[in-house]
């Protein structure tokens, strides 16, 4: 009998504080697996968000530097410009990246900063108790959109990945999910490709990961994963939104 699955080396043994069935836990492990497989543990620097994953440095066994809410893309820019041969990734939730941090993200992408962003999209502000987020869909119930998000009062959700695909400096943008083993494996491939994009210097890379938040969606983990399939992907379609890595031969 051979052990074919175990904890990645770059994920510390600390038990996760995330809720049962939370997408963060799955995504943390995937990032750890990719860092292990690509041998990046000694050269990776991560930037956690303000959000449920604010304590990510207790889980990832790589250098990590805290950013204030939404500003990870700017911090990553400063860090990567100072250390161009390291792998710099930001890990951000939907509020962090598409509300307060939109300007920094769009500009980092437009400047073509060689950073990778892992964007966890669960349609709510999790850590603060489930308020409406920029990616909350119309009709979705949250603590600041009781009765469901209304077009007139709250406006429309933001499809940030599509917006970033327009930026000329973005090199690779894909939307995946972690609500089934098949999607989880697809997410892992996307993370790997994003890090490769960064290592080759092609520009800004981002993986948007649709992620269950059973606690704030008020569903069981299994139901939450189904809801992503049945409802969420209709507004946030999965797939590659931009990929110029095949065309570029040399880094700038």
């Amino acid at each position: 009998m051979k052990k074919i699955f175990s904890r990645p080396k770059s994920i510390k043994k600390t038990p996760f504080h995330y809720c049962p069935g939370c997408g963060h836990s799955i995504l943390h492990r995937l990032i750890g697996e990719v860092i292990d497989e690509m041998n990046l543990q000694e050269i990776t620097i991560g930037i956690p968000p303000a959000g449920c994953a604010v304590l990510a440095y207790f889980y990832f066994d790589v250098d990590m530097g805290e950013a204030s809410h939404g500003r990870a893309a700017a911090l990553a820019t400063g860090l990567k410009r100072a250390l161009p041969d390291r792998v710099v990734f930001t890990y951000q939730g939907d509020g962090d990246i598409a509300a307060i941090g939109t300007a920094e993200t769009i500009h980092a992408a437009s400047r073509g900063e060689n950073i990778t962003t892992l964007f966890v999209n669960n349609g709510v502000y999790g850590m603060t108790g489930g308020q409406m987020a920029p990616t909350t869909i119309l009709g979705q119930n949250t603590t600041t959109s009781p009765g469901g998000r209304k077009e007139k009062r709250d406006g429309f959700p933001i499809n940030l990945s599509e917006m970033l695909a327009v930026a000329k400096g973005s090199a690779y943008i894909e939307r995946t999910a972690v609500n089934s083993p098949a999607n989880i494996l697809r997410t892992k491939k996307a993370i790997k490709k994003a890090f490769q994009t960064q290592l080759k210097g092609y520009g800004f890379s981002l993986v948007e990961v649709l992620s269950p938040c059973p606690t704030n969606w008020k569903m069981s983990p299994v139901e939450a994963c189904q809801w992503i399939n049945e409802v969420m992907v209709k507004h946030f379609p999965l797939g590659v939104l931009k990929d110029i890595t095949g065309e570029k031969k040399d880094a700038h």
Binding site: K2, F5, S6, P20, H24, S180, V222
Partner: protein, 72 residues
């Protein structure tokens, strides 16, 4: 076969939902954190069509990295 660390399990039931051989059930014994963890039903190993193939889907889905998978 698989090994589940019952102290890490938070009873999300994602592994149960994805095991095609129905080899994981919810235990009736609480763990230290107060969850009823997932439990690998070993005694069905003998029956041919309900033997663990080591597909690993449960471990891939498990958020807590509580499952280790072994394959012959």
């Amino acid at each position: 076969m698989i090994e589940i660390d019952s102290e890490l399990c938070k009873d999300c039931k994602l592994c149960i939902s994805v095991c095609s051989k129905k080899l994981i059930v919810t235990s009736d014994r609480m763990n230290q954190k107060g969850y009823y963890p997932a439990f690998y039903v070993e005694k069905n190993l003998r029956k041919e069509n309900r033997k663990c193939t080591g597909c690993g889907l449960c471990a891939i889905f498990c958020p807590e990295i509580a499952i280790e998978v072994y394959r012959a």
